[in-house]
Amino acid sequence: MSIFSLTLRRDLLLVIREPAQGMAVLAFFVMAASLFPIGVGPESALLRRIAPGIIWVAALLAVLLGLPRLFEADFLDGTLEQMVVGPVSLGLLVLGKIVAHWLSTGVPIVLLSPLLAIQFSLDRDSLLVMVGSLLPGTLLLSLIGAIGSALTLGLRNSGVLVTVLVLPLYVPVLVFGAGALEADLAGMDAAAHLYLLVALLALALFFAPWVTAAALRIALE
């Protein structure tokens, strides 16, 4: 079995053993998005207009909130050090961890998002576009976030710092992700946005694991 799938299975096993942390991220996602109707009022036309932005920003912040789980526990108990010393490709190992993180954070967010779509009175077609943009989008967020998470590993203020490092890099994801949904709501074709999102994803899949691996080596030195 390859190191990628071994790592993936290991991290998923760990998530299953302690599911509480993952649940908190999901709760945050739903709660944060639910605050907006309370803040701006229940007018459904307005809510429909701002829904893409709100759902996407909530998803983005939820992924960001879950980032510390990616490496911190392994860093603190010393297993990360063992992984770096080990005779395996660290890039593939990191990719396994990122995909596991996405499966336990991003995918549940995507699965929950139709609930929010109902709250914001989106119709069924838009719902499809929303899920179609969130699915690659959250993986992209995890990939980019992993770099920031590795760079700030073990620092005293890593929680805030990772936000400051990663948020500007999240801008294109937000533009294309929320843009897809918005274009669809405006009656335009969302395909161009989705293609760009997937192109970015391909780029990040190729580079982010190696950059993250390099950052981990720096952090552990």
């Binding site: 620092l155 710092l161 400051v164 500007p168 890099l169 294109p172 533009v175 294309f176 843009g179 720096i218």
Partner: protein
């Protein structure tokens, strides 16, 4: 090549930077005076925008510098990461605050220009928005650098961040442009050039040179401080400070 490597050691670079600085400071001041004189006094007033447009003599060069310095910073950071030359990393660290300052200057002058043009201090125009994100990238770099106590780790971690940022700058720029055309936002672009007069180009060119000289002078001054800080235990520093 060897001549350049000769100055790659902080010990040799320190006095060289010290000798260069006064020249750069003086030329920055003279060029800025000349550029502002052309921009504010000699250049003709704009047919549509009147006198308000004159802020571009600061705004446009500042935006250019903020973008360019980020690339230079990422370049030095990358050199430091690959070749393990301490001076390159110090250079990157010294450039960051200057770049952030230019980004801020560009945003402030943009706001000042926006008020008479659009009637609002801030408009979510593509250029202003990407400038704002560039400022965030600078702040991230500075924040990461100053959060890591071990200088070697700080150098290398922030170098990775700078390189990732540099790869992302064009993507961010493109995405923000895409975003603003989708939303049909501001119709007046900040750098729309209604057939610029030759004197305007001269003024802007000279201002760019002035900012260049200023940026290099400030970066060198900062590099000298960083060298003293980091090499505080080295024997030569004692003589250099005396």
């Amino acid at each position: 090549m060897n001549r350049w490597l000769h100055f790659a050691s902080p010990q040799r670079f320190y006095p060289l930077a010290g000798r260069l600085m006064p020249w750069l400071v003086v030329s920055a001041a003279l060029l800025a005076l000349a550029g502002l004189a052309i921009g504010l006094l000699i250049a003709p007033s704009d047919a549509q925008q009147g006198e308000g447009y004159r802020i571009i003599f600061v705004h446009v060069p500042a935006s250019w510098m903020s973008m360019f310095i980020y690339l230079v910073m990422a370049f030095w950071a990358g050199v430091g990461l690959v070749l393990n030359t301490r001076l390159s990393s110090m250079m990157a660290q010294a450039l960051a605050p200057t770049g952030a300052m230019f980004a801020l200057l560009s945003l402030l002058t943009g706001a000042l220009w926006g008020k008479p043009m659009w009637g609002a201090w801030w408009v979510w125009d593509a250029r202003l928005t990407s400038e704002l994100i560039l400022l965030f990238l600078y702040l991230g770099f500075i924040a990461l650098y100053s959060s890591i106590e071990d200088p070697s780790r700080a150098d290398r971690a922030s170098a990775v961040l700078a390189l990732v940022g540099a790869v992302n700058v064009p993507i961010i720029y493109f995405s923000v442009k895409w975003w603003s055309t989708l939303h049909q936002g501001a119709s007046v672009s900040l750098t729309r050039s209604p057939s610029m007069a030759v004197t305007m180009l001269w003024g802007m060119g000279i201002m760019v040179l002035a900012f260049w000289a200023y940026a290099i002078a400030v970066a060198l001054a900062r590099v000298r401080c960083i060298i003293l800080e980091r090499e505080a235990r080295a024997e030569w520093v004692k003589y250099a400070v005396e």
